[in-house]
Every structure is written in structure tokens, then in C-alpha cells.
């Protein structure tokens, strides 16, 4: 199962969803993406949500290091292969998690 958890206060989830869909198409998968909106600090705690967007494949976060951040309604920080900061995972992170 592929889950995308998001918080509306952060604008990055549409970009993350589009990237995830592109990668799925490119690797020949047709999985449905289960979208879950996180609306409160309590939900963030319960869902172990370290920020928006959070993408999990079969329960495993695509960025295991980032998943250790404290649960919060916030925009999540990802790092691209060249070290630059990004509000969405890299294509490489998604491909690695999906293969």
C-alpha cells in the first residue's frame, strides 16, 4: 500500500503526489495512492506524522532518517542527492522505496 499523508497548511503535497504518480507510471506500477489529511497535533502524534508530505510504502517511510523527526503539523524537509533542500522527496528516494 502506498500512503501519502499531508497537511493542508503546507503547499507541497500536490507536487509530491504528481511526482509519485510519475514515478509509479515510469516503473510500471498502477498502485492507488491512499491520501490521508492530517488535521491536528493529536492526529500527527497518533499517525507518527513528521511533516507534510509523508509517503509510506507498505508502512515504510521513503525517508527513514526524516521519519525520526518529532510529529508536527509542519512542512517536511527532504534532501536531494546533491544536498539541496527540498519540500518533497527526491525522485531517487521514491524509486528506491518502490522497487
Amino acid at each position: 500500500m502506498i500512503e501519502l499523508l499531508y497537511w493542508e497548511g503546507c503547499p507541497s503535497h500536490p507536487e509530491a503526489k504528481a511526482l509519485l504518480e510519475r514515478v509509479l507510471t515510469e516503473i510500471g506500477r498502477d498502485d492507488q495512492i491512499v491520501m490521508t489529511e492530517v488535521k491536528s497535533d493529536e492526529e500527527a502524534e497518533r499517525l507518527r506524522f513528521p511533516g507534510s508530505p509523508t509517503i509510506r510504502v507498505d508502512g515504510n517511510d521513503v525517508d527513514l532518517e526524516g521519519a525520526k523527526s518529532r510529529p508536527a503539523l509542519t512542512c517536511r524537509i527532504y534532501y536531494l542527492p546533491d544536498g539541496r533542500v527540498s519540500p518533497v522527496p527526491s525522485r531517487e528516494q521514491l524509486e528506491a522505496a518502490l522497487r
Binding site: C10, A72, L73, T74, C75, R76, R84, V85, S86, P87
Partner: protein, 175 residues
């Protein structure tokens, strides 16, 4: 709702990471004043950070001052505390003042909504450009450098080619 183009810059007196208080009047000599709603924790701020630092450095000798304002609620976002602000500014060597708006009064007065969000004031401290630093958080994909274009135009006595854009980033974290 942010202030309208042409509006006067709101006055402020805020503590900076340099240990001094800074007021709007302190920047009175600047030909242009760039006020940027800012913070530590937001990936959009971090993605644009190098480009904002470059703007501050490139235009310092031309009389342009940049001041970053963090107004976020540190109770919920401790990464944005004053101590963390000091640490980040020192680590990166910010070429701009970084001020803490703990009461959020300046963010309210500006009508700021996002981080990063730019407010460019002219010599008379009227708002002449508002919005994004440029048109992409990905520095490899930038096609329009809105802030630089506006600064260049105003320094040349012309109108900014684009006066308002949508600021893309994290929301200001209100108390």
C-alpha cells in the same frame, strides 16, 4: 491579507540575532529596504536561502538592505526560537539582519502569510514589490528573478516589471 502596493512600511523595533534592537528608522539610509518574512524550519525558506543571501550581498554596495523577520510561534515550532535563529545566522553568516517578531505584530501589520514572503519598500518606504523571491524554489529552474528585477528597476528609477506575485512557502505560524 497583505498590505497593498504603495502602502507605507509599518514601523517596528525588534531584537536581532546580533544582540541589538533594530527599528525601521535604523534603515533610513537605505535606498531600498527588503523585508522578508522568514524562519528556520521551513524547507521553502531553506531552498531559497542561498538566493536571498546572494541578493543581500550583491546589492549591499548599491544601498539595498535586506532584513529577515521570524514571527513564528516558537511554542509549537521550537526550531524557530530566538536561540535557534542566532545559531543559524552564525552558522551560515547571514549577510542580512535577522529579527525576532515574538509578538507577531510586524507579521500582522504586513499581512504576511508565508515564509519566505518578500516586501520591497522604496526610499520613501512605500511597498513597490510583494511576493516571491523568484519563480521557482528549484534554483535550476528559475526563469524570472522577481526581486532582483524589481530592485534593478527601482534603482534605475523605473517601475518594477512585476509588482506582485504569489509567495510560495510555509504558512506563518500564528499563536
Amino acid at each position: 491579507m497583505s498590505i497593498d502596493l504603495g502602502s507605507e512600511a509599518p514601523s517596528f523595533v525588534l531584537p536581532g540575532v546580533d544582540g541589538n534592537d533594530h527599528s525601521l528608522d535604523d534603515y533610513g539610509d537605505a535606498k531600498l529596504l527588503v523585508v522578508v518574512q522568514y524562519c528556520n524550519h521551513c524547507p521553502y525558506v531553506l531552498a531559497w536561502e542561498g538566493r536571498l543571501m546572494a541578493v543581500a550581498r550583491d546589492y549591499a554596495q548599491k544601498g539595498v538592505r535586506v532584513v529577515a523577520i521570524n514571527s513564528n510561534d516558537v511554542a509549537h515550532y521550537p526550531e524557530d526560537s530566538f536561540e535557534q535563529m542566532k545559531a543559524r545566522a552564525e552558522k551560515l553568516g547571514f549577510p542580512f539582519d535577522y529579527l525576532f517578531d515574538e509578538s507577531q505584530s510586524l507579521a500582522h501589520a504586513l499581512g504576511a502569510e508565508r515564509t519566505p514572503e518578500v516586501f520591497l519598500f522604496d526610499k520613501g518606504r512605500r511597498l513597490r514589490y510583494h511576493g516571491a523571491i523568484d519563480d521557482s524554489r528549484d534554483d535550476n529552474a528559475v526563469t524570472r528573478s522577481y526581486l532582483r528585477e524589481a530592485i534593478d528597476a527601482l534603482l534605475a528609477g523605473e517601475e518594477p516589471p512585476t509588482a506582485e506575485t504569489e509567495a510560495v512557502g510555509c504558512t506563518v505560524k500564528w499563536k
